[in-house]
Symmetry: C2
Subunit: 333 residues, 2 copies
């Protein structure tokens, strides 16, 4: 059983867009967003509706930047952290694009990218999209406490990004290309602290990235960066230690979107950023443009998701995690 | 833009299993389940853990009936109705199969079947599984009220089935075969009554089934049955009316899993059964075996999902729905 699929005709990520909020604009990645929304309500009356606007904007920008209309798109893969993935449903329904809902928690951008790429590579269709989002205020209410409660955050906790990323995959000569993907397995190392997701998710990233290296014979030196989704400061150091113990060093080229999106000195985010939109927006706003321009040549993008729910956490369950991976390249190979 | 994909080398559904609870055993479909659990807790201490056991059993039975071990399976598509799809995560994690989480509410069995079939047809892998479940007690607690509350149910409400279905798709000469699939679009006709899901979902089934007929040139008379997931009594009559108005009659061959799974005269289920596990278990327990034996030759299987959440319902949102479709056949074509 192989978990890695090598693309036959590496498809192109022809268009992409990143949308953010005020805090994301104020961070070191602020300049890479296509659009910033200063109002956390996005002119809606609930935070949940605001999160749907995030996805609506991301899909809209990714379409228009590529010169596409919704009817050009054959299938859209999307999901988010809200119960029943309503950020996606209500955000994208007006586009009337054939839709396959996915759930991978914060690994959703990787899952959508790999499914869209496989659909194009194997000629199931001609244009496939992926989208995801997260919103600080909806995530706090759903996973922790409503903001008004004013709860204290633990040092290992992360800050859910108010952000969204969307992309279009199609057969094209335009860089970047998706060269391969690895479908992750659920990994559960017994972590039960829902305020320390980074530690829970790091073993899943380790499992998937190691599997990719084993199955392809490639090594960290083949890549400019090995990018994880939102392990944050705690999870990133766990990941680097796990690789160190297996005799592979990734520390000099590992980047984590959760560590990149905010400034730890000035933004008080504790262990870093998190949420589907964190990795989703930095992939679409920062990494894909640099791969297109040739500033970067090869990266592994491995977003990670913690597959818990508040209900099962309260029932004492451990936190199972998953990571899916895509090899993105400036060259088609 | 076409929503229907015709399989090149129609893959086989080589193995399948259906698991149910006590009420499902007492209904007219009771004899078609591979295993019945009399205890709604499944010997666990919470209903959520019980739902995970449903999926664990379904995957286990589908594997063993096909003579497979978990390591034979390249990818598993799974999801359910619980927040963050934890029924699936905790149910299947011990199998350590590469996993892609999906969310389609009660359309999940269709979505998993079509993704698994496309992965096999386009040679992405050799063996793909799909699984889903629902549990009456977890669904009541999450979507309505805890059982202890003793709330009254409206006449249009449906009874969430405690059931699960799992299947294995692979290249094989063994019937039944997946001949084509249609990816649905989100349809929202403005229904806001969360106790009348059948009416909300019927237009999605109409949209997808009509699209299949238009894109393939086929008609109802090409099929023994047109099977929907869990429209129940109310939704089924809406669906038949919608077709009637478009000049196509499906009434003589339409079957709905929600109408089939319980006896309306003796089981007090109001408008019928519902839940991912309703369509999932009847596909795997009733329809696939009859297609294998040649008792049935061609069916359309179109499960439908209502993509709402309690949060957005309380915020006054309408109920968007989706339906995905697979054409299943005794003949490979």
């Amino acid at each position: 059983m192989r978990s890695t699929v090598i693309m036959r005709e590496p498809p192109s990520v022809v268009s992409y867009a990143a949308i953010g909020g005020k805090k994301e604009e104020e961070g070191p990645m602020g300049q890479y967003f296509d659009k910033i929304n200063e109002d956390p309500y996005f002119s809606e009356d609930t935070f949940e509706k605001a999160e749907s606007q995030l996805q609506k904007q991301a899909v809209g920008h990714a379409l228009s930047k590529g010169g596409f209309s919704p009817s050009d798109i054959d299938v859209l893969f999307g999901g988010d952290l809200l119960n029943q993935c309503t950020g996606t449903t209500y955000g994208i329904k007006s586009y009337e694009i054939p839709f396959l809902g996915i759930y991978g928690a914060c690994s959703t951008m990787s899952e959508g990218l790999l499914l869209a790429s496989l659909f194009i590579d194997r000629e199931i269709c001609r244009k496939a999209m992926a989208v995801t989002s997260s919103h600080f205020c909806t995530a706090e209410r759903q996973y922790r406490m409503p903001l008004n409660y004013g709860g204290q955050r633990t040092p290992t906790s992360q800050w859910t990004a108010t952000a969204s990323g969307a992309l279009v995959v199609s057969p094209s000569e335009k860089a970047p290309f998706v060269r391969a993907c690895t479908i992750g397995k659920i990994v559960d190392m017994g972590v039960t602290d829902a305020n320390n997701m980074g530690a829970a998710m790091a073993p899943a990233a380790f499992s998937t990235i190691s599997t990719f290296f084993e199955e392809t014979g490639m090594s960290p030196s083949d890549f400019d960066h090995i990018v994880t989704g939102d392990l944050g400061a705690v999870g990133s150091s766990v990941l680097c230690s796990l690789f160190e113990k297996s005799g592979i060093s990734i520390e000099d080229r590992h980047l984590d979107c959760g560590k990149m999106i905010y400034d730890p000195d000035t933004q008080d985010v504790h262990a870093g950023g998190s949420g589907c939109g964190c990795a989703g927006s930095l992939l679409c706003g920062y990494f894909l443009p640099k791969l297109r321009e040739g500033e970067l040549h090869n990266i592994l993008f491995a977003a990670t998701g913690a597959l818990l729910s508040p209900t099962v956490s309260q029932q004492g369950e451990t936190i199972p995690s998953i990571s899916h991976l895509a090899w993105l390249s400036h060259e088609r190979g």
